[in-house]
């Protein structure tokens, strides 16, 4: 390693570096100068420092070097950079949501851990080497466990963190075991090298075992059935901004990472080995997510089941990524993240104004805060896939790619038809949410809700992006 290589590595890792530096800076400031100040001020300081670090990281990622860095450990291709910027945008909106949600007890630590999670997620987007993949995934996951259980005094929050941690720990073990098998089979850790080794022969039993292990971890990370069990409890128990980050940025980075593993590492030659399994997971997620969501009365659990259903649809994008590129999947995952980060942002604000658990807690939101009600309508309708919002075009591009894989009678085609049929089911539970927010009157004694400036900015920002990417989908679809 010569100095120029280190310089190149530093430039390539500038986004991660600025996130980590921001996190350390705000911890240091909070510990030294602002230690005895009131929590609101400490929160504001932490959020602004964090926001600046995130924006700096996004600029660095956008303007930074492209191509392979440090051997083949990182690959900063279009997908990686788009994912990094996407993850950072979602993190920024989640930071905005923190301002409106109930103030965490140690605001600086909370924001710092969010930044560490973002660091891991940004690294995940570009990682091309199995050890780095695992490290970045663990950095992100461990940080997310912490912020899921940050309200340690609330049993639900602790329960959420514990469940998330136990499931996550087991899936990490599976993943590591799978990686070691892959290393054993191919003798290399870099994805391109693995692909080159695997391209020759067919699927050997050890490799199939490794693939199964990776798919288990993938299912957990993306909350796909039957590995979804943690999701409803975590979404329900975690503080709203934590749930926002877990459901949006973490999902985007996870989908991109596993799409890379399945297509770049395993290669197209191995696709027949995992296609049926992923198709089955997709079908199970679509059915379970959409049907179980119908029965929910708790808003956060409803969003969790809807997330499971959306994972099922995104898996179709993973299957289509080999032939039609990652653009449909990225578009779907990112715009889904925008909608869900916004929805949890709204939940956080309503939570602070007197609790937001059941769907009925949204009653009369249009009177209490027209801003929140209007933004929530955009987010929920985008989740439902109503044009001209971005959610519709995500579904459209993923389904049309999946239908072209093997025609309507192929597994992906049949799943697309199933997903389209279930979107009519999904509209019912989304309209139930909007009925409370826009149609029902407020309960007696409900007061108007004041939305802090930063949160309003984040909500309007994500709503505007959803509308913009919906009106002109080419802005995102065209970058690949």
């Amino acid at each position: 390693m010569n100095p120029t290589a280190y310089a190149g590595l530093f430039l390539a890792l500038l986004p991660e570096a600025s996130l980590a530096a921001g996190a350390l800076l705000l911890l240091g400031l909070d510990l030294s100068l602002f230690r005895h100040r009131d929590p609101a001020l400490r929160l504001r300081l932490a959020l602004w420092t964090g926001a600046i670090a995130v924006v700096a990281a996004a600029v660095a990622a956008w303007l930074g070097p492209r191509g392979s860095v440090w051997g083949a450990s990182f690959s900063l291709d279009n997908l990686a950079v788009a994912t990094q910027v996407g993850v950072l945008a979602l993190t920024l909106f989640a930071l905005g949501a923190v301002r409106g949600a109930p103030t965490p007890r140690q605001p600086a630590e909370y924001v710092a851990v969010m930044l560490f999670a973002a660091t891991g997620l940004v690294l995940m987007a570009a990682a091309q080497q199995l050890l780095l993949v695992f490290l970045s995934l663990e950095l992100a996951s461990l940080s997310l466990y912490v912020i899921a259980g940050f309200e340690a005094r609330r049993p639900e929050s602790t329960e959420a963190a514990l469940k998330y941690f136990l499931f996550g720990g087991i899936s990490a073990a599976f993943l590591l075991f799978g990686f070691s098998l892959i290393y054993g089979v191919t003798g290399s850790l870099e994805l391109p090298a693995i692909a080159a080794k695997l391209a020759g022969g067919g699927a050997t039993p050890p490799f199939l075992l490794a693939l199964a292990m990776v798919l288990v971890a993938f299912g957990f990370k993306t909350a796909a059935a039957p590995f979804h069990l943690w999701a409803p409890d975590v979404y329900q128990g975690a503080p709203a901004p934590s749930a926002a980050l877990i459901s949006s940025a973490s999902k985007l980075a996870g989908f991109v990472l596993f799409t890379r593993l399945l297509w770049s590492a395993a290669g197209a030659a191995q696709a027949p080995a995992w296609f049926p399994t992923v198709a089955a997971i997709s079908a199970a997620s679509l059915l379970l997510g959409n049907l179980a969501a119908l029965a929910q009365t708790n808003l956060r659990r409803l969003l969790a089941y809807s997330a499971i259903g959306h994972s099922g649809a995104m898996l179709l994008g993973v299957m289509a990524a080999g032939r039609f590129g990652p653009a449909p999947l990225f578009y779907y995952a990112f715009t889904y993240g925008l909608a869900v980060v916004g929805a949890f942002g709204v939940i956080g604000v309503v939570d602070r104004a007197g609790g937001c658990e059941s769907i009925a807690d949204l009653a009369g939101l249009h009177k209490r805060s027209p801003l929140l009600a209007g933004c929530l309508a955009v987010f929920v309708l985008s989740l439902a896939g109503i044009p001209p919002l971005a959610g519709f075009f995500g579904k459209l591009s993923v389904f049309s790619a999946a239908l072209r894989l093997g025609g309507v009678a192929g597994p992906a085609g049949l799943l697309s038809i199933l997903a389209i049929a279930l979107s009519a089911v999904a509209l019912y539970y989304y309209l139930i949410v909007l009925k409370q927010a826009l149609v029902a009157g407020p309960v007696p004694g409900a007061r108007p809700i004041k939305v802090p400036f930063a949160t309003a900015l984040a909500l309007l920002g994500s709503a505007a992006l959803i509308v913009w990417f919906g009106l002109d989908p080419n802005q995102l679809l065209g970058v690949f």
Binding site: P387, S416, Y428, V439, P473, L477
Partner: protein, 505 residues
């Protein structure tokens, strides 16, 4: 002509403006809505004056939109869409006039209302199947809120049922369209390209695709047995929204059947033609018979809408130039007449008497208490029965002749529907407006009011709206050639000629 897309943009801008204006005062929102609706209508009328009928879609805008999917922002117009655009402008303007009394959340009402209108204009202007579908879905969500927030009888049920039926229908359409699109290699959503792509599918797939797309759209057109959302939705909706629902939104479904589904696959159509025609005929008779037994006056009109839309579907299914042009004429005619009927019952009558039950109305001499309402209702009823001089007559007559040319039995049973329509309409007129005749003076005033019941006079917006709609039905009744001269050349396009056969235009 090139201004025509502005009817979409004006309506969208009006939606945002009335939302903002509604935060100041309800009156401001009303005026913004009226001005934008009228301006959009003026745009369509201006284009109609300059319109030169031709056999092809005349492109207004054609831009690359989503290159990756081959979707284009392609707006174009022909005689069929021109007819329906003018209808939309008329129905929207009249609907605003009849919504003048909306007092709660006025700005939001007109925002949803104009967003719905923008979607409707967009559908009628789209020449790209994906764009068509996007506008089609834009029109769904506002309907839910218009009914759920400002509606009456059983509104949340009616709103949800209507939204789910519409959305399920459109999901079926999307599945069918994507199937064809993928079969064509995912290159283009242009109507002609989709037809070419469908032709490459094996026959049973063509039949399946045609069935998906046609019945998906036909759900919104109220085809039997998928019509049940229509009466409950129309009854639950506030007056302006029921005018739009029956007047133009059901036409979206019929227009989709005609523009997208019909040319998609001649082979698929050949398979489905008879089932569709019979379902349409059953719808005409069945909905008519149900209307005959209704107790709520608004339900009578709701079911009559289903019955009259059956004629549109029958005309499309008969698939000869005469029947199809009659179907388009019937879309216009029913749009105007249904709007008028809902306006009288929902706004003029119900907002004053607070009842729509025939058993209560028959005890009141409405013809003396609200003479204007009674007169307008009689005119609308006469037009609805299809008497000469009103738009329903040329429309239903051309459909029946066309259907007779296709299959005698369809026309014979459908003609029975005309008698049933006369029966339920006359019953509604008799019981609803000319009741209390036997003992007019001795009748106790309703709702315990002292003395003779006195209702507020019919307001100026109501009168204006009614006059506009009556004028339209009379004008088209006397001069149907005004619209037929637009419609018939459009049916000469190659896409339509591939499925249409026989019958002089």
């Amino acid at each position: 002509m090139n201004l025509l897309p502005w009817c979409i943009y004006l309506s969208l801008a009006g939606a945002l403006l009335s939302l903002a204006a509604g935060r100041r005062s309800p009156a401001a929102a009303r005026w913004v809505a009226l001005l934008t609706a009228a301006a959009a209508w003026a745009v369509t009328l201006l284009a109609a004056v300059q319109f030169v009928p031709g056999s092809s879609l005349q492109t207004l805008v054609d831009l690359a939109w989503i290159p990756m999917l081959g979707a284009r922002y392609h707006l174009a117009v022909d005689g069929i869409s021109m007819t329906l655009l003018v209808l939309t402008g008329l129905a929207a303007t009249a609907g605003v006039l009849f919504s003048w009394n909306i007092a709660t959340r006025t700005g939001e009402f007109f925002a949803f209302y104009l967003a719905l209108i923008a979607g409707v204009y967009g559908v009628f202007l789209s020449a790209d199947a994906l764009l068509f579908f996007v506008f089609y879905e834009i029109a769904i969500v506002p309907k839910y809120f218009l009914i759920a927030i400002w509606g009456s009888t059983n509104r949340e049920y009616g709103a949800m049922k209507l939204a789910l039926y519409s959305f399920a229908g459109s999901a079926i359409v999307l599945a069918g369209l994507l199937w064809v699109y993928a079969a064509g290699g995912g290159q283009s959503f242009a109507f002609g390209e989709l037809t070419r792509a469908a032709a490459t599918l094996p026959p049973h797939s063509q039949i399946a695709v045609f069935g998906l797309v046609f019945f998906g759209f036909a759900t919104l057109a109220g085809i039997f047995p998928l019509h049940t959302w229509a009466p409950t939705g129309h009854v639950a909706a506030p007056t302006g929204a029921s005018m739009l629902l029956a007047g133009v939104v059901m036409k979206l479904g019929a227009y989709g059947c005609l523009r997208v589904a019909l040319p998609l696959s001649p082979l698929g159509f050949a398979f489905w033609q008879a089932p569709i025609a019979w379902l349409a005929v059953i719808g005409i008779v069945y909905a008519g018979l149900v209307a005959l037994r209704q107790e709520d006056l608004k339900f009578v009109i709701g079911y009559s809408s289903v019955s009259h839309m059956g004629f549109v579907l029958l005309g499309i299914a008969a698939a000869n130039a005469g029947a199809v042009s009659g179907a388009v004429l019937q879309m216009f005619s029913h749009g105007v007449i249904a709007g008028l009927l809902f306006a009288v019952v929902g706004r003029m009558l119900y907002d004053r008497t607070h009842t729509r039950r025939l058993s209560e109305l028959r005890t009141m001499p409405i013809y003396r208490l609200l003479p204007f309402a009674a007169a307008v209702f009689v005119i609308a009823a006469v037009a609805s029965m299809g008497l000469p001089g009103f738009s329903g007559f040329p429309a239903e007559l051309t459909i029946l002749i066309g259907a007779w040319n296709a299959a005698h039995a369809w026309a014979a049973v459908a003609a029975l529907g005309i008698f049933i329509a006369a029966a339920f309409t006359l019953r509604a007129v008799q019981l609803g407006f000319f009741g209390g005749a036997r003992e007019p003076e001795a009748e106790a005033p309703p709702r315990g009011q002292a003395g003779t019941p006195h209702y507020g006079p019919i307001s100026l917006p109501e009168k204006t709206g009614a006059v506009l709609l009556v004028a339209a039905t009379v004008l088209v009744g006397v001069r149907p050639d005004l619209l037929l001269d637009w419609i018939n050349p459009a049916l000469q396009s190659p896409l339509f000629q591939a499925v249409l056969k026989g019958g002089a235009p």
